[in-house]
Amino acid sequence: MDGGRVLTVARTDLRQLAQARDFWGPMVALGGLFFLVIPTVLLLMITRIDDVQIVEQLSTTLEVLPQRAQDAILGSTPNARAAYALAVYLFAPVAVVVPLTISTAVGAATIVGERERGTGEFLAHSPASVREIYLGKLIASLAPGLGTVLIGFGLYSVLVNVLVGPSVGGWFFPTTQWWVLMLWVVPPFLGLTLAMVLRLSAKVKSTAAAQQASGLISLPMIMIAYTQSSGALYTGVAVSWVIGALAWLGAALALSRGMRSVTRARLLGVADEA
């Protein structure tokens, strides 16, 4: 396998994406909304509430968290504790939902789109192997999601440290669990979802059908990723490592199966071998 050709396929897809302002515009807005706007509004409200009754109610709701998570909450005032809990525990799933949505949207169009536009013919006649093409497409679909994770995570970290840090004794974010979540748990979930989406993209007849079907796949995957990432944060780092390991295993299996779904006949858009 020629790694250079894999990167060439990926780079060309990303170059096309970069030209598609009508695509990445809404994606940037989606990331901005979930990583910046909503957290800013909620954290500002919580840190500046003066109504003692509301603050006490918020503190009470923190009791639903597992004891380990409650023990880890920093802050001496109810406002600070509520803001800390919100920043560390409640926004975690957002880090999964946004990149999954973005990568799924890219991945759904990537192979069937080649066929629809006729460029699959060019790839089918090229020296690139189907494995190189598949991996190139996978990287091109993963990159926007992972990029969103890194940029969104970075901005979110700065945001919560600025808004909540003064109330809890200084900069506190990212916590160890978040590092594990971002670097160990989220990437395999992205890979697992994309393996299924690319498989679909190779098999369906049109981009519309791919996106319709990928919606059905990505929604349960988002649910699973949401619950697992929340669980990882509440129950400690060890559990995060286990969840991540299982997700990596699932992703590896799904990717190896997905790789076989891309054939030259499918790039050409003709009926496959029996």
Binding site: T119, F122, H125
Partner: protein, 366 residues
């Protein structure tokens, strides 16, 4: 306007060098539809071979089998002596393909399209690749448009860019599938001229077309396909001799009856065809073109006032219909293009959250 005729130069026998492409008994079906049904094809090096046939004859499938983009169900495929199913990368690296639809990336510039191909074909991204991109673009007259997005190109420019892309890596075998599809006559002519020049660079060319005029004067070898099989193959001159073994000349005179009598008495004349139209000249078969002047002289000497002498040189169109009539009479060929049998989607409803980010068309972007 008279139709062009098979050129005298094309009667030269095909070279007997090792064939670049050799297909034997190749079958390929799509579901229950046979696209190739025992195709035999031999393409000598350094020649232009035209695959001629109606829609659904198997021309495109044949080209796809040659590069290994499609594997045959049965039969033997050898390209440069290699089996594309086993040595696909080696075979495809030496092939350049222009498909009926140019297969270009609309969102990328012309230069980026060529650079993508250069990288996939192993030319890298260095100065050599850049020089080749410039040279190929110059050769096909699109240097001025290299920086523009291909989505804004005309059909002719797209075809030129696709041609430039196909020769970028200096392939040994070029496959053109309906290369003038959708082009205006001027652009078609230019494209065909460019194809005509390619064997001079050492390349072998296979061109698929159903347009007889395109193949006229271009083909060293014509292979007529129908229903996935090769019906006849050879150089245009050879095929003309096979179907018209005698020299044919159309002759008319002021006195048609006197002409008939003189022809009947001449030993050089093998046959006379009156045809269905009395106003048309007589079609006369003689054993050799070189004897036509003698025949005219003899007719004049016999007192026949000759008003028209027109040696008949068969065009590729004449040849095609002669071949076709041999297997199908006057029947209209059936279009055997495989049909899509799946359930047609009405498009997206709830699930389509975003348009196709790679499509430059508003429809694709939603």
């Amino acid at each position: 306007m008279s139709s062009p005729t098979i050129e005298a130069g094309s009667t030269t026998p095909l070279p007997t060098r090792e064939p670049v492409v050799a297909l034997a008994g190749v079958h390929r079906s799509f579901g229950t539809n046979p696209a190739l049904a025992g195709l035999d094809l031999v393409v000598p090096a350094g020649t232009i071979t035209v695959l001629l046939g109606p829609n659904g004859a198997g021309k495109t499938t044949a080209a796809r089998v040659v590069t290994g983009a499609l594997a045959p169900d049965r039969g033997t495929v050898r390209v440069f002596g290699l089996d594309p199913a086993v040595d696909g990368e080696s075979v495809r690296r030496r092939c350049g393909v222009v498909s009926a639809k140019p297969a270009l990336y609309d969102r990328l510039s012309g230069r980026d399209n060529l650079a993508y191909s250069a990288e996939l074909y192993g030319l890298g991204r260095g100065a050599d690749a850049t020089d080749r991109i410039e040279a190929a673009a110059a050769r096909f007259g699109i240097v001025h448009a290299l920086a523009q997005q291909v989505g804004g190109y005309s059909t002719g420019m797209k075809t030129r860019l696709a041609l430039a892309r196909s020769v970028l890596h200096r392939p040994d075998l070029l496959l053109f599938d309906e290369p003038t599809s959708g082009l205006d006559p001027e652009s078609s002519h230019a494209v065909l001229e460019l194809i005509r020049e390619m064997p001079a660079t050492g390349a072998t060319v296979i061109m698929c077309t159903h347009l007889l005029l395109e193949a006229e004067g271009l083909a060293d070898q014509v292979v007529v396909l129908d229903q996935g099989r090769d019906r006849v193959a050879g150089s245009p001159g050879e095929l003309a001799r096979r179907f018209w073994p005698a020299a044919v000349v159309r002759i008319d005179a002021e006195d048609r009856a006197g002409l008939r009598r003189a022809l009947a008495a001449d030993p050089r004349v093998a046959a006379v065809d009156d045809g269905d139209e009395p106003a048309l000249p007589l079609t006369v078969s003689v054993d050799d073109h070189g004897r036509i002047p003698d025949l005219v002289f003899a007719l004049t000497a016999a007192g026949v006032r000759v008003t028209r002498v027109e040696p008949f040189t068969p065009s590729l169109e004449d040849l095609y219909f002669a071949v076709r009539d041999g297997w199908a009479g006057d029947a209209v060929p059936v279009d055997e293009t495989p049909l899509f049998e799946g359930k047609l989607s009405s498009g997206n409803r709830l699930g389509r959250r975003f348009g196709d980010p790679f499509s430059a068309s508003p429809a694709g972007r939603r």
